[in-house]
Symmetry: C2
Subunit: 100 residues, 2 copies
Amino acid sequence: MQTPYYAVIFTSTRTDLDDNYAEMAIKMETLAKQQPGFLGVESARNEIGITVSYWESLDAIAIWKQNLDHLDAQFLGRQKWYENYVVRIAKVEKEYSFER
Amino acid sequence: MQTPYYAVIFTSTRTDLDDNYAEMAIKMETLAKQQPGFLGVESARNEIGITVSYWESLDAIAIWKQNLDHLDAQFLGRQKWYENYVVRIAKVEKEYSFER
């Protein structure tokens, strides 16, 4: 992707409570992909989870943060699914890649 | 952590070749932690791997990138361990967190 753009780095530890977490994660990923300014998302989880989403601008991130369905998910996340999390908003200044 | 600081977002897909990968990963993490300007590192892997390391400055990142043992590891990574990877250098402008 052409720099600069923005990344939201979401690192989390889950509780033991499942309660539709996987469904909600898929729903939020699907919804994020429909937002204006969305560029991509990557996730991995074992002991901790890391999800990085990529966005064209800080405005696009702010609008997604305030999306009503997303606000519901954030609330349920704090109520049920996450032991703790950190959200970092970062400006991607440089990228390079390797492909075999 | 006090913003601004820098993040290196390393996303990768592994080859099937093991060949001391885990040992090297631990060695590099140990070495990174000894570098000046190192602030922290978080990793998760299932289908893809995401490692995010945090640094005080772009200079600290540049010096770590050129560390001789790290250059060896990067070379072996391209030769053996990674199918593909992307490295992104990003300036963390804002962070917030939740703790149960």
